[in-house]
């Protein structure tokens, strides 16, 4: 879970906080919440696809 969090933090920070300002703006926070959901979904899609190939 640590690895997932680290990679997600990095990707979502890169995608959502393009110009770091004085605080996380509300639009950045909205983006981060969506990015978190999408990243976990991507992880599940990748996991499912990979495991189905190993079977």
């Amino acid at each position: 879970a640590q690895q997932l969090m680290n990679n997600m933090n990095e990707r979502c920070f890169k995608a959502c906080v393009t110009k770091p300002g004085d605080s996380l703006s509300s639009s950045e926070q909205t983006c981060l919440t969506r990015c978190m959901d999408r990243y976990m979904e991507a992880f599940n899609i990748v996991s499912r696809t990979y495991v189905s190939r190993l079977a």
Binding site: Q3, N7, C16, S47, Y50
Partner: protein
């Protein structure tokens, strides 16, 4: 293949395929093309590994 190696591959594939397929700002859901890109990215990467290993073996055989 051990459980740990599979896990580490899933993390690698997720970051690699995320960088390849998700180029716009994250939205409330994946577009159809983003989702199919993620699936195909994993499948074609595995195909690529198999393809390259076969190429190497063929050359070794023909030497």
């Amino acid at each position: 293949q051990t459980q740990a190696k599979i896990h580490s591959s899933v993390h690698n594939f997720t970051t690699m395929c995320w960088d390849k397929c998700i180029t716009s700002t994250p939205s409330t859901r994946f577009s159809r093309s983003e989702e199919s890109c993620l699936v195909s990215c994993v499948d074609r990467f595995l195909d690529t590994s198999i393809f390259l290993v076969k190429q190497i073996q063929e050359r070794r055989g023909s030497q």
